[in-house]
């Protein structure tokens, strides 16, 4: 006595968002049925386990059949097999490409290779995201990476155009792709306190201001790599710390501006040269691929940690960085205004984003 076959096919494909999420989350059919039985939303329908099982099976089958299309979202719009209203298609795609930030945080900056894929069960254990879901998310990263890697033009738009994602999700993917491409170090213990959103923000800044595309959309090169020339030019900023006069002058200008405005003034005054040196050193070393990868760990070790131990507030830090940047313009001998602005703009917003517990 058993149901040998049980299918339901609608002319318009029926998609239950709740079941879709359960499927995306990697739950088995029986788990999903149990969870649906427990959820309140369905209690009013008085659905029996049997009905739910049948429904869940149908939905899972539908999703499995759709999955092939979701791998290339533009196909979903002009395939003929499933009649799905446009807004539902968008939902399917968006949800399919959505990812757990905890998971993404683990993979961030890692090479999207088979090796990493093997580590997914560890990540799954650590993050509590089901292995199935981890695999899907990882494959999504890889797929997006592969497609946009070689494309010209703005990264976010490329992701958006090829995968029909929402703006915010496309930005997140851009961050993942950007990190995976430049292989930024994010796994060190000292960086553990930083969330995916923190890094995604920083990635956004880097993409917007430090890549080739940031200067010229029409450039041959892509958005994925930092602009080599710019990184090379950053060496010129060394003058700010190497020229003692300039360093002193810069310090006095900043102190003048900040006096009475920040709580940690004395600490700032005492540490100014170290802090400035740290920031300039980071800038000058960025020609090295290895040092580019260490950008975030350097920012934390060399700048954020000292400030934190001196108990700077975010307000203090904001004021300091603002004036540290702006006063450099008033230095007579300093000729690299544009370069300075481009560098400090990003560094400032990154530091501010990263400056928390």
């Amino acid at each position: 006595m058993s149901m040998e076959l049980d299918v339901f096919v609608g002319n318009t494909t029926i998609i239950d968002e709740e079941v879709y999420q359960l499927w995306l989350d990697g739950h088995s059919v029986s788990d999903a049925v149990r969870m649906r039985l427990e959820s309140d939303a369905l209690s009013e329908c008085e659905a029996s386990g049997e009905v739910l099982h049948s429904d869940t099976m149908d939905q899972y089958r539908t999703f499995q059949m759709c999955e092939r299309l979701l791998h290339c979202p533009s196909k979903l719009a002009n395939q003929l097999l499933f009649q799905i209203p446009a807004h539902r298609q968008a939902m399917l795609i968006e949800r399919y490409y959505e990812f757990d930030h905890t998971f993404a945080r683990e993979v961030l900056g890692k090479k999207l290779s088979k090796g990493t894929k093997k580590d997914l069960d560890d990540i799954s254990l650590k993050t509590g995201v089901a292995l199935k879901s981890c695999r899907r998310q990882f494959d999504n990263f890889k797929r997006v990476f592969k497609v946009v890697e070689e494309l010209k033009g703005p990264l976010v738009e490329n992701v958006q155009h090829h995968f029909l994602l929402s703006d915010s999700l496309a930005r997140d993917y851009a961050a993942v792709v950007f990190f995976a491409n430049s292989r930024f170090e994010t796994g060190k213990r000292k960086l553990q306190y930083l969330s995916f959103q923190d890094f995604a923000f920083c990635a956004g800044q880097l993409i917007s201001y430090w890549t080739v595309g940031a200067v010229d959309n029409m450039m041959e090169d892509m958005d994925v790599d930092l602009e080599k020339e710019f990184l090379h030019d950053l060496k010129d900023l060394k003058v700010l710390v190497n020229d003692k006069d300039m360093l002193d002058q810069h310090k006095s200008l900043v102190c003048y501006q900040l006096k009475g405005k920040i709580k940690a003034f004395s600490e700032m005054e005492a540490n100014f040269k170290n802090l400035s040196r740290a920031l300039i050193n980071i800038a000058s070393k960025l020609t090295n691929t290895k040092d580019v990868r260490d950008l975030f760990i350097d920012l934390v070790e060399k700048f954020i940690e000292p400030c934190r131990s001196d108990k700077w507030t975010v307000g203090d830090l904001t004021l300091f960085l603002t004036h540290y940047t702006s006063t450099a313009h008033t230095l007579e001998m300093f000729r690299f205004q544009i370069l300075w602005e481009r560098y400090m703009g990003v560094i400032k917003s990154c530091i501010l984003k990263m400056y928390h517990d």
Partner: protein, 1073 residues
Amino acid sequence: MPGKLKAKIVAGRHLPVMDRASDLTDAFVEVKFGNTTFKTDVYPKSLNPQWNSEWFKFEVDDEDLQDEPLQITVLDHDTYSANDAIGKVYIDIDPLLSSEAATVISGWFPIYDTIHGIRGEINVLVKVELFNDLNRFRQSSCGVKFFCTTSIPRCYRAVMVHGFVEELVVNEDPEYQWIDRIRTPRASNEARQRLISLMSGELQRKIGLKVLEMGGNAVVGYLQCFDLEGESGLVVRAIGTACTLDKLSNTYTPATAINPCNSSPSKDIKEAGFGEEAPGVPLSSGPPTPLRAQTFSSFSPSKSYSRQSSSSDTELSLTPKTARICLSPSSPTLQSKSSPIPTTKALRSTTPPPLHVSQSDTAMLRKSVSFSEDLLLAASGMGSGGSAGKEAGPLKALLRQQTQTALEQREFPFFTLTSFPPGFLLHVGGVVSARSVKLLDRIHNPDEPETRDAWWEEIRQEIKSHAKALGCHAVVGYSESTSICEEVCILSASGTAAILSSRFMQDSALDTEHRFEDLMSPGCAFCHIPYDELNMPFPAQLTYCHCCRRYKVPDVLFTTIDLPTEANVTGKGCLIQARLCRTKKKAQGEGNATAISNLLPFLEYELHTQLMNKLKLRSMNALFGLRIQISVGENMLLGLASATGVYLTALPSPGGIQIAGKTPSDITYEQHISNMQKKINDTIAKNKELYEINPPDLVEEVIGSPIPEPRQRSRLFRSHSESSDEVSELDLSHGKKDAFVLEIDDTDAVEDIHSLLTDAPTPPGFYSCNTEIMPGIYNWTSALQMFTSVRVFRLSNVNLTNQGLNKVFNDLCENLLKSLYFKLRSMVPCCLCHVNFTVAVPEDELIQVAVTAVAMSFDKDQTQENGRQSIDKNLMKAITENEDQLQFPLELSAESSSNPLNSAKGLSEVSGPLPSARVSSLEKASPLPEGRSRSLRSNRSYAGSSVTVVKMTPLSFIPGTKIIKYLGIINMFFIRETTSLREEGGVSGFLHSFIAEVFAMVRAHVAALGGNAVVSYNMKECVFMENPNKNQAQCLINVSGDAVIFVRESELEATPPQPHSASAQTSSSGEGT
């Protein structure tokens, strides 16, 4: 060379990777029609090839155009080995052969492979040039329109309803040919698909020929089925109703407006030919067209039984089954009461064909007679039988004389329609049905399918005689079906005995009055008994109609038709199902056939009892859309009866259900019974509330109704005293005379009661019915969801009792419904309409249930009353509008009843006498639909853009929209097979994707025709076979429907009212574009 078919292969997309090395494909296309094949160039190394081929031209007979599909094969070019097939597309070009349907087929078609399913898509353009200078009425029937819709299609008007057409063709099943042992499954499947496609085309062409002979231009309610008889062959058969249709308003090709009278010539000629046979039939004034005269000159009334059902098409077959009802109000006429032509009793004596099992046949005959008894006895409220039905036939002679019309002379006055133009259906007698068990034998000569023809002939004769016994001269809502298991085949036919209007033969001026009378009179007329109350064919309780108080009505009415729009219904309706499963010993050959035919009467009797009980339990008194399916397996018989129960205001309120025990002495037993009784009464009360059945209070009714004449009143009172049920209808307490008594003296009865009470009520917000419209719901929104659900249940313990089986089967259906309600919960409040269950016993221990239905949301805020009123108003408006559009009958009869245009070649002259204002408004009207069509088309051809949304519905309409064009019939047959069942997700995964693929292919074809919906969609066949041990499965699906273009009513409102532009079909029907 009467036609030129042109095809162009534009491009492909999403092709599968055929070359693993390059991950690409070198695709090219073969285009084949008949025996001619063209090839495109190879488009190397691409999954999205752009062939952009030249126009491939096929010069062919139009006969072939009708029979053959255009076959497109996509292949992967391989330099060293044979080219690999990617898949195929079959395109039925029939829609292009009618001037009114589609003009071009253009769009993306899924490339289908019977092993791999859909593998990419191909963009194709197809056109047909028909040469008009030849007499194409010889072998082909181009231009006859086919509709699956079982009512007059929405944008047409029926000029004449000619009557029943049927045809069947047989062939050997390629699957069972010797060559099948050496060819691949793919080749075998494709041979089958192609053969069925060919046979369908041939069948359609032959039916078309018959229609042309009858003088019609369309087939409505076209139902084509195929019987897979296994070793003994493949039968494709079709029935339909021949009509002459007029287009109401042709929004695309304006200016061909013509006087509707022009469509009558064909009819006139026929009248001339049949003059002596139908003296009462109207003679109209139109002069015969030469063509018609020629065509019909060979008619001779003496050929009253020259049933020409063979497939030989050497001569014009002169089937005199041209039962027709003239709907052309312009023709002057009289009500024919007359024509004492001897009824064709002789037909009964058809010599039994050698193959049939005479024993089972006689058993069958006896059974089916007793069946109509069962039904009617049950209807009378008594479970036990008399034998009144048997002598009923002869007694009807008198009545028949009274009701005799032209219909009587027709061989089969059958109509596959289920809903009718207002005023067409006069009275309904009840369901008539007949079944016959036959032993299949190899069809020796496919060109002479006489055995199968004779089988159906017998059944139809039986149906006809049943109808006569009910005092009816016609059968409406007629359908036929088969169930085959090994070499045993059950043939079934059923319909509703009815009396149809002869009023439509009258003059148009009179017709206006009558029409108004129809609308004014409460919709109760069809309930009035057609038989003589003194000579009732069965013992039934008659009462005076609760609406008009003038005529008698039965206490229960069963029909196979849709609820007439004018019917007065109290409350809402609901789906009622009777389900039954009976074990049967395994047997072979004749023994098996005998066993089955012995079981059948009991099965039907029980199904009817169950239906009646469930109807009473819902406090309803009529069933519509009744469909009884009997399916035979090796060791069981399944019976499933589905219908929509309603409370007809005209019929008396049903009594309650009373339970009587056999051993009244036992106290606990008594208690048990009274408990049950209480439960039943509670359920009835609950149901009354649920379905809003509050029959109007009798007293009020009398006051509110126009005061009857004294004589009538006295009669009314007499009826009170006689039937004494007027009081009892107000409460349900048992003990009343009319209460339905259920005796629980054995386990069967207990089982019955259990099955009664175990039917779960539909969840809140849901309603269901198996008819087109749900009484009591009128404010539909446009949200609709058509779906198909299939379940197969395996019975693992072999020795199940009847009861055990019953429970399993009942649970299977109930759970399926529950699942549907759950899945569609987001559409609440909604109604599942046209719920169509099909059961089958594919293997020993398997029960298969397939459901196709449409869920439609409605607006519950609007109160029911308002809804009802507005719909009534709409209906009225629609009718009058239609008439206005036609200038007919009011204007037409006044201005131009003696119109000089009455010549059939008046097509070009038409616009002359038309008021010029109308013409200009017509031109004004055209831009919008024109633009619409253009936008539709551009949507289609815009590659890479989103796909045209195609709605599908089993109903003949889409709420909130207006169908502006019928593009042709969709009739598709697919086979899918797999040898990697597990890899495709098991049987469910396999069937799920196959059904989705079938939907996709239907949508693609409709979109390519320029349409945006399929109406009257039906999945006629879903044969599923599996062999999990071999990891194999196979499935066959046959679907049909009408491709249409609809526009939202809101969009239409912007345009000025559509002017009259009905064009005459008789002369222009065959003209291709």
